[in-house]
């Protein structure tokens, strides 16, 4: 009996080893371990054995069952793994095929430049102020020390709607509007981005509509050296830490003294190239100390308060920064143009 059991074991084990699929294993399990299987059959004949041998034989039977069962499990696992592997192999894809594009758009380059500048000045404690694009002659000119008939009005031919209402020619009217709101009390620290309009024929370098960013700071201790310091910080953050700045005297009716700021050319580093027209410097913005008439007209005591103001053109900055050759590109919105501004700068 013992021998028969051993022989059954050998037979089962070799069949298990030969099995090549899950079905065969299941069949072997039923055939050897099932209620009608040979081991059960043999053990049923145990009644004929002497009483003292029965437990031994029972134990042996169980041991053999366990061995076969383990072998079955083991083989089953092997086969399952193989089946999975086979399945996965069939699922293999070409990972170099392009992925599904994620829908995404991006900022217009002007917004990109404007937000960058806004954030820079917000970091220096400035707020963002916005004002009307259709302005009164008073805020656009008179409150900025540009009375009617002032020759400097020729500098910026304007789009008038009526004698007193026009499209703002700069964002500077917000200087007066903001100061009025402060009712003669400082400090005032604002950045004013916005669209402005001038009578220019559109071409590669002129646009009848463009963007401007104005800055204004009025307080009891504001000095021209502060303007230099703030603009230096701006220039380095915006155009690179190695940039130098240079202030040149200039003229604007609403600032006195007035300056223009150049930065050392980021293309040639100051040696002279086509970007800087050989001078090594690139003009970036205009500014100066707020004219006392402007302070007084907006309700500030010009003996007590001083201020600085500056203005710049994001189109020009974007053109310089990215090498855009035609200002009209900003307004025609060719998607091949827009899509180029879809990533970080560095």
């Amino acid at each position: 009996m013992k021998e028969r059991l051993q022989a059954l074991k050998e037979e089962a084990v070799s069949k298990i080893e030969e099995a090549s699929n899950v079905k065969e294993i299941q069949d072997i399990r039923v055939a050897y371990l099932g209620k009608k299987g040979p081991i059960t059959e043999i053990l049923r004949g145990m009644g004929k054995l002497p009483a003292e041998e029965r437990p031994k034989m029972g134990q042996l039977g169980n041991e053999i069952r366990a061995i076969i069962s383990d072998k079955l499990d083991e083989k089953m696992e092997q086969l399952e793994k193989a089946a999975v592997a086979e399945k996965l192999k069939k699922e293999t894809i070409d990972v170099t095929m392009p992925g599904r594009p994620v829908q995404k758009g991006n900022h217009h380059p002007l917004t990109r430049v404007v937000e960058e500048i806004e954030d820079l000045f917000i970091g220096m404690g400035f707020s963002i102020a916005e004002g009307p694009e259709v302005e009164t002659d008073y805020y656009n000119f008179e409150a900025l020390n540009l009375p009617k008939n002032h020759p400097a009005r020729d500098m910026q031919d304007s789009f008038y709607i009526t004698e007193d209402i026009l499209l703002r020619t700069h964002t500077s009217p917000m200087q007066a509007r903001t100061m009025e709101k402060h009712e003669g009390k400082g400090p005032v620290k604002i950045i004013v981005p916005g669209r402005v309009y001038r009578r220019d024929t559109d071409d590669a370098t002129h646009s009848h509509q463009f963007t401007q960013i104005e800055g204004l700071m009025v307080g009891e201790n504001v000095r021209m050296s502060d303007l230099k310091g703030v603009l230096q910080t701006f220039a380095k953050e915006m155009f690179g830490q190695e940039r130098e700045i240079r202030l040149r005297p200039s003229f604007f009716p609403f600032t006195e003294p007035s300056v223009e700021m150049d930065i050392s050319c980021f293309n040639c580093g100051g040696e002279g190239c086509s970007v800087c027209k050989g001078t090594g410097w690139i003009e970036i913005l205009g500014g100066g100390m707020v004219h006392p008439h402007v302070l007084e007209m907006s309700g500030f005591d010009s003996k007590k308060y001083t201020g600085f103001a500056f203005g710049m053109g994001p189109e020009r900055i974007a053109m310089l920064k990215y090498g855009i050759e035609d200002i009209r590109n900003f307004y025609t919105n060719d998607v091949r143009f827009l899509k180029q501004f879809n990533r970080v700068n560095q």
Binding site: G105, S127, P151, N221, S225, K228, E256, M289
Partner: protein
């Protein structure tokens, strides 16, 4: 303003500075030098030649065979086609091997069998602009005066080795619209002296007052008028030096009298006018406003109609000049002029500007009056011109001048303290340095313990207040020497407003949703403004538009977004999704007298494929629900989902079956829909979907604070229903009934199917909903769900006759 280096040297010692170095210094101290131009346009090897003989070319009618002495052993033979070439002339000869502008090299040549060894040049051929060439040489070669030396550098005589600085003058620096002003500026920069001309005139015994009287009607228009009479002049060509000065300054030489007035205009900045005394037609000069409709024929042979806004010089009866702008043709100096009345006056800039603007006549003279001339230099300029006329045209100056008004004014005093200077500039400049700077500027001053009272010369009318002096000190001290500091004691937090923050969020959302931001023009055409028909607002029209396309302010962003779609479509870019946030301009006024309402809108346009992944065969074109989905996501971002609804609408130029108004709290704030196929073909673009919303309303509508809700603790139960309803029944109406009837237990309703067409009864459609029930108190019982769900089904049957399907 063009400044010749050679001319400038007459007044200031320029040391060893090159034109470029000087330009840099001038720019840094306040006047931008825009260009440094070399008058020599690459010319080499041009000498003075003497035409020894000149005969007709044997084989060519129009050519001359010239023997020209160019200071070499033998005269050279040169063939010249110029009509004015003649024996005995001194001419400019480009020798063999010479180079003319444009790198044109002169070589030995043979013309119709005769050798030509060089070229006799016209001024144009030497690089002088045609508009600056005197009439007599305009169509031929240039002929030197006889006193030039044969064989020497011809360019030297023509001053073509000079360099010219072009100053870009800001309106405040009109003082540098003349050589003396530039000399003062350069002397201050270089710390040098200024050498002024000192004209002297000998008077004849005759008195000018016997020849003319002068009266001024209004002293405000014309504070001073001086008339100098010069008798016995000879009008002829100017000497070469004077011609050269004018040419280097961009003015064409005419004759000695006119050239001298122009020369003094350039030197002193004082516009002068020379009348032919004998042609004036009277013995008086009356300065007055013109009558409305009064006429004058000006020097340019054009009849001008004047108005009472214009100031004229009259002979007591009729105008003989438009003051400060242009003289009249009748009294113009000509070859036969013998007696001159030289006008040197100060006219008010406003009135000159008005005339120059109205008559569309800008002259070197009007430009200077407009920007302001040196009040105290007027009579000096007359003296300078008179002395030059005597020198170059002969004649005698009668005792005078005859004057009206005040010849000079007192100079004004402006004060500033060293303390204030340093306080404004943020510097530590010493009293001595300030004094030195005023000295360099040649400002007289009185220094009382650091407070400077400066007597501002009349040549600097731009200096009227303390700050103007601070600027003078600052710019000559040098802004490079200014420290870079940070403001102190003005700490403010800074940052964006809620509105600005939300707007940034909206932009990022739109871009995340797949749209590109665009920027388009605010000005548009009335036709585009009428895109949506009558909208209850009037066009805001520019008083002088540059074109019909940019004549009014836009009332909608849509038309220009369509322009962008069209631009891209024309370049085969057909899958485009764009948006813009910008203002529209709204007024109810017929004629604008108040600032219009400026309302910020957001608008988007979609065309072509929305999603595409070609190799996986996925192509999803844009449709109405893409556009609507973007809006739904947007309002969700803004916390307004529950307050937004869509309502079928009809709108001009929009598809009548595929357009909806967007409502916020039941109030219309915009629309979404498909561009009408007719409008689409008018634009010649593909199927396009659009929306435009009042962004300002969206961003200023406050929403409930964001509040956390506990995660569900009990399972929910989902029931699906498929309904058959009338085709015209809107899903929203069905949803409303379901939500109403479902009560508190109905947590969510989703539409998961819409079926129309085959297998459906005519005029019906099927809508399938998935209803999720949830009770936050306990696990739902079958009974609870059944009760709520039955209520829903009943209500649907009752209200819209819906029947359950399948």
């Amino acid at each position: 303003m063009l400044v010749s280096m050679r001319w400038l040297e007459q007044y200031v010692d320029l040391g060893n500075h090159t034109a470029e170095q000087l330009a840099d210094l001038i720019t840094k101290s306040g006047i931008e030098v825009e260009t440094v131009e070399s008058l020599n346009k690459g010319v080499k090897g041009v000498v003075v030649g003497h035409v020894v003989s000149c005969e007709q070319h044997p084989n060519a009618d129009k050519l001359n065979l010239c023997k020209v002495d160019i200071g070499e052993e033998e005269p050279v033979q040169i063939i010249c086609g110029a009509p004015n070439v003649a024996e005995g002339q001194k001419v400019a000869v480009a020798k063999v091997g010479a180079v003319l502008p444009g790198n044109f090299k002169i070589k030995k040549a043979k013309l119709r069998g005769e050798a030509s060894n060089g070229m006799i040049c016209s001024l144009q051929e030497l690089g002088i602009e045609s508009k600056l060439v005197q009439k007599e040489f305009a169509d031929g070669i240039f002929v030197f005066p006889n006193d030039v030396e044969v064989g020497t550098d011809a360019l030297e005589y023509l001053n073509l080795n000079d360099k010219v600085l072009e100053l870009g003058l800001t309106p405040n620096r009109a003082d540098c619209m003349n050589m003396l002003g530039v000399a003062y500026e350069v002397a201050a920069i270089l710390k040098k002296e200024v050498n002024l001309p000192s004209p002297s005139v000998e008077h004849s015994d005759e008195s000018a007052a016997d020849y003319v009287s002068v009266s001024i009607e209004n002293k405000e228009d014309n504070p001073y008028y001086g008339a100098t009479i010069i008798k016995g002049v000879e009008v002829k060509a100017s000497p070469l030096w004077l011609v050269n000065r004018l040419v280097s300054s961009g003015i064409r030489p005419i004759n000695n009298i006119v050239d001298i007035t122009n020369y003094v205009l350039l030197e002193y900045g004082q516009p002068l006018h020379a009348f032919d005394y004998d042609r004036l037609g009277s013995k008086e000069i009356v300065v007055r406003r013109a009558g409305d409709g009064e006429k004058i024929e000006t020097l340019d042979d054009t009849e001008r109609t004047l108005s009472s806004d214009h100031l004229v010089i009259t002979n007591g009866k009729k105008p003989v000049a438009v003051a400060g702008v242009m003289g009249g043709a009748d009294s113009e100096v000509y070859d036969g002029t013998q007696t001159i009345l030289l006008e040197a006056a100060y006219f008010n800039g406003f009135v000159v500007r008005q005339a120059s603007k109205d008559l569309n006549l800008r002259s070197d003279s009007s430009a200077r009056f407009e920007k302001g001339i040196d009040r105290n230099r007027v009579h000096l300029a007359a003296k300078r011109a008179a002395s030059l006329i005597v020198e170059l045209a002969g004649g005698e100056v009668l005792e005078g001048p005859v004057e009206a008004g005040e010849r000079t004014v007192e100079e004004k005093s402006v004060s500033v303290s060293v303390k204030r200077i340093n306080r404004v500039l943020g510097t530590d400049i010493s009293e001595n340095t300030v004094a030195e700077i005023f000295d360099r500027l040649r400002f007289e001053y009185n220094n009382d313990n650091g407070t400077f009272s400066v007597l501002v010369p009349a040549r600097r009318p731009d200096i009227t207040i303390e700050e103007d002096l601070i600027e003078e000190v600052g710019r000559l001290y040098g802004y490079d020497n200014l420290p870079a500091t940070f403001p102190y004691g003005e700490g403010t937090p800074g940052g964006l407003t809620d509105y600005q923050n939300k707007r940034r969020l909206v932009r990022r959302y739109m871009e995340g949703a797949g749209l590109y931001q665009v920027t388009t023009y605010s000005l548009t055409s009335p036709k585009k403004n009428a895109f949506f028909g009558e909208i209850g607002y009037n066009d805001i029209t520019l008083s002088m538009p540059m074109s019909e396309e940019r004549a009014v302010l836009r009332t909608s962003l849509v038309p220009h977004l369509l322009d962008v779609i069209e631009h891209n479509h024309n370049r085969q870019l057909d899958d485009v999704a764009i948006y813009e946030t910008a203002k529209v301009f709204l007024t109810k006024q017929e004629k604008v007298s108040e600032l219009p309402k400026e309302e910020e809108h957001i608008s988007a346009a979609f065309t072509g494929l929305w999603q595409e992944h070609s190799w996986q065969k996925e192509k999803k074109p844009v449709d109405f629900f893409v556009a609507k989905g973007v809006i739904e996501g947007l309002v969700e971002e803004l916390g307004l989902s529950d307050r937004i609804s869509f309502q079928k609408a009809e709108k001009q130029n929009m598809h009548p079956g595929r357009t909806a108004n967007v409502l916020l709290d039941e109030e219309e704030i915009g629309f979404v829909g498909q561009l009408h196929p007719e409008a689409q073909s008018e634009y010649d673009i593909n199927e396009t979907y659009l929306f435009e919303l009042n962004l300002e309303r969206l961003l200023t509508t406050n929403t409930e604070p964001l509040e956390y809700k506990s995660l569900p603790r009990f399972p929910s139960v989902t029931r699906d229903i498929a309904l058959v309803v009338d085709e015209g029944t809107e899903a929203q109406a069905v949803l409303n009934i379901i939500e109403q009837a479902g009560g508190k237990l109905l947590a969510e309703t989703r539409i998961f199917d819409l079926y129309q067409g085959e297998h459906m009864e005519e005029g019906k459609k099927s809508l399938a909903f998935s209803l999720r029930y949830y009770n936050p108190e306990h696990t739902l019982t079958e009974e609870e769900v059944k009760k709520a769900h039955d209520r829903v089904v009943d209500q649907l049957k009752q209200e819209i006759g819906a029947s359950l399907r399948g």
